[in-house]
């Protein structure tokens, strides 16, 4: 039909658009042998690096990591199937992340975008993080274009909807959130190859959200539960955070921080890793004013990068903790 080919239109076929016939050996355009083993796919996609990084840099979260490994395995096997000319239907990868505050939902979502990109499931690998405000409009007819615009920006990557349960407000039946949910579901269904939607929120509220939107629940294949961190895990998170910022615990400071975590974990509004980060930020403030109080002292690298035990001990949490347990 076409009289001639437009340059560029033949040399780079869309990946997966032309599956080979069964049993046929496919040579890729640049002469690379088509992958036949898991290791080859992993090497070509470098997904293994991301998975290792995930293991190394994220503390705890065992069930989440296990599920991510499962998904990665499926995508690798699908790639191998496609290379052999077998049917490989693109799986639905929409996810919901539920868990308490500070359990790493956003961090994992960011990693998820990288992993899916390396495995060739999404084309660009960027993450668009939005909340209700970015999707729901102010007046009639405002919501649809607004939601569509966000969806278009997220195409080729991951759309991360934080605190997704706010989209549905049962107390107001004329709320525009429902409209956004409907558009979202439609695109999740029709453009499954183009974007991955991740809904995140606190467990109990997401449960009510899914109960009132059963269509949404059935369109999400992976429900990931983020467990709370144990005390030891929080301590390791603290150490990694300090390391990233070129700080370290001075003598005895590690034990003091351990004690701090034990107190803090029992107090209200404990937000896991986020609380740890805030505590460290405050400790850095105290360290700075401690050094500041001594203007004539020559400060070494050690002085500047060490968080001492008193910097942590000064926290109000210890007073509250002592008040709560009189025998301490």
């Amino acid at each position: 039909m076409a009289m001639y080919n437009i340059p560029g239109s033949v040399t780079t076929p869309v990946p997966g658009a032309t599956p080979a016939k069964a049993g046929e050996v496919v040579e890729q355009g640049d002469g690379v042998r088509t992958a036949r083993t898991v290791a080859e796919v992993m090497a070509q996609s470098q997904a293994g690096d991301v998975l290792d990084e995930l293991d190394r840099e994220l503390v705890g979260l065992a069930p989440v990591k296990a599920r991510i490994r499962d998904i990665a395995a499926l995508l690798v096997i699908d790639r191998l199937r496609m290379n052999q000319g077998l049917q490989a239907q693109t799986p639905s990868l929409h996810m919901s992340f539920t868990g308490n505050p500070g359990t790493g939902k956003t961090t994992v979502a960011l990693r998820m975008a990288q992993i899916l990109h390396r495995l060739g499931y999404i084309r660009k690998g960027h993450l668009v993080a939005v909340t209700r405000d970015d999707l729901v409009g102010q007046y009639v007819g405002h919501t649809a274009p607004k939601t569509r615009e966000v969806l278009k920006k997220a195409m080729g990557g991951v759309l991360f909807i934080d605190e997704a349960y706010y989209l549905y407000r049962p107390d107001n039946e004329r709320d525009y959130g429902q409209e956004a949910i409907e558009i979202l579901m439609q695109v999740m269904e029709n453009n499954r190859d183009d974007l991955v939607v991740i809904l995140a929120g606190y467990g109990d509220r997401m449960e009510t959200f899914f109960q009132s939107n059963p269509g949404m629940r059935s369109r999400i294949a992976h429900h990931l539960e983020f467990p709370d961190f144990a005390e030891g895990e929080l301590l390791r998170i603290a150490e990694m955070m300090l390391e990233q910022q070129n700080y370290r615990f001075g003598p005895g400071a590690r034990e003091t921080f351990q004690e701090y975590i034990a107190h803090r974990i029992r107090q209200p509004q404990f937000a896991n890793a986020r609380s740890v980060r805030n505590a460290l930020d405050r400790a850095r403030l105290r360290q700075a004013s401690r050094l500041f109080a001594n203007p004539d002292k020559e400060l070494t690298v050690d002085d500047l990068s060490t968080i001492e035990s008193p910097d942590i001990r000064a926290s109000r949490v210890f007073d509250l903790g002592a008040a709560a347990t009189p025998n301490n």
Partner: protein
């Protein structure tokens, strides 16, 4: 027109080529996105080789990363105006450029009757020539209907 005897509207890029397939359109969009252009969808049923003022369908699309977003918008425009001319335009917002950098037709009416030559007699034996689309005789919105 004399240079294009088929009656097809020729305007923007690729208009002398056979129609682009969706995969080819996506590749062009991808190229523009890599250059940092913002795509927009425009349509008209009043074609003329020099009519550059088309209606925009929806908003121009800034901050996109992937062609799928533009294709989604193009699809909804095709659903709304199946027999109109539709084109994609790419806006280059670089300071000092700030203009359309790419533009090509992605949808045409099933039948394009073409353009007729209009002769106007003026002073003495002078003739003036212009062209007029046959479909432009009909009212807006009723053109290119079967």
């Amino acid at each position: 027109m004399m240079t294009n005897p088929t009656g097809r509207l020729t305007q923007g890029q690729f208009s002398f080529l056979p129609d682009l397939t969706d995969a080819e359109i996506a590749l062009q969009i991808e190229y523009g996105l890599k250059k940092g252009y913002a795509w927009a969808v425009e349509y008209t049923d009043d074609p003329h080789p020099r009519n550059t003022y088309w209606e925009m369908f929806g908003m121009p699309m800034f901050d996109l990363n992937d062609a799928a977003g533009v294709m989604l918008e193009l699809k909804s425009c095709r659903d709304t105006f199946p027999t109109h001319y539709i084109r994609l335009v790419a806006f280059d917002s670089t300071r000092g450029v700030e203009t359309i950098a790419m533009s090509f037709i992605v949808n045409r009416p099933p039948v394009e009757p073409g353009f007729g030559l209009v002769r106007q007699e003026t002073n003495g034996r002078t003739m003036r020539y212009t062209i007029r689309g046959y479909e432009a005789e009909r009212a807006e919105g009723e053109r290119y209907r079967k």
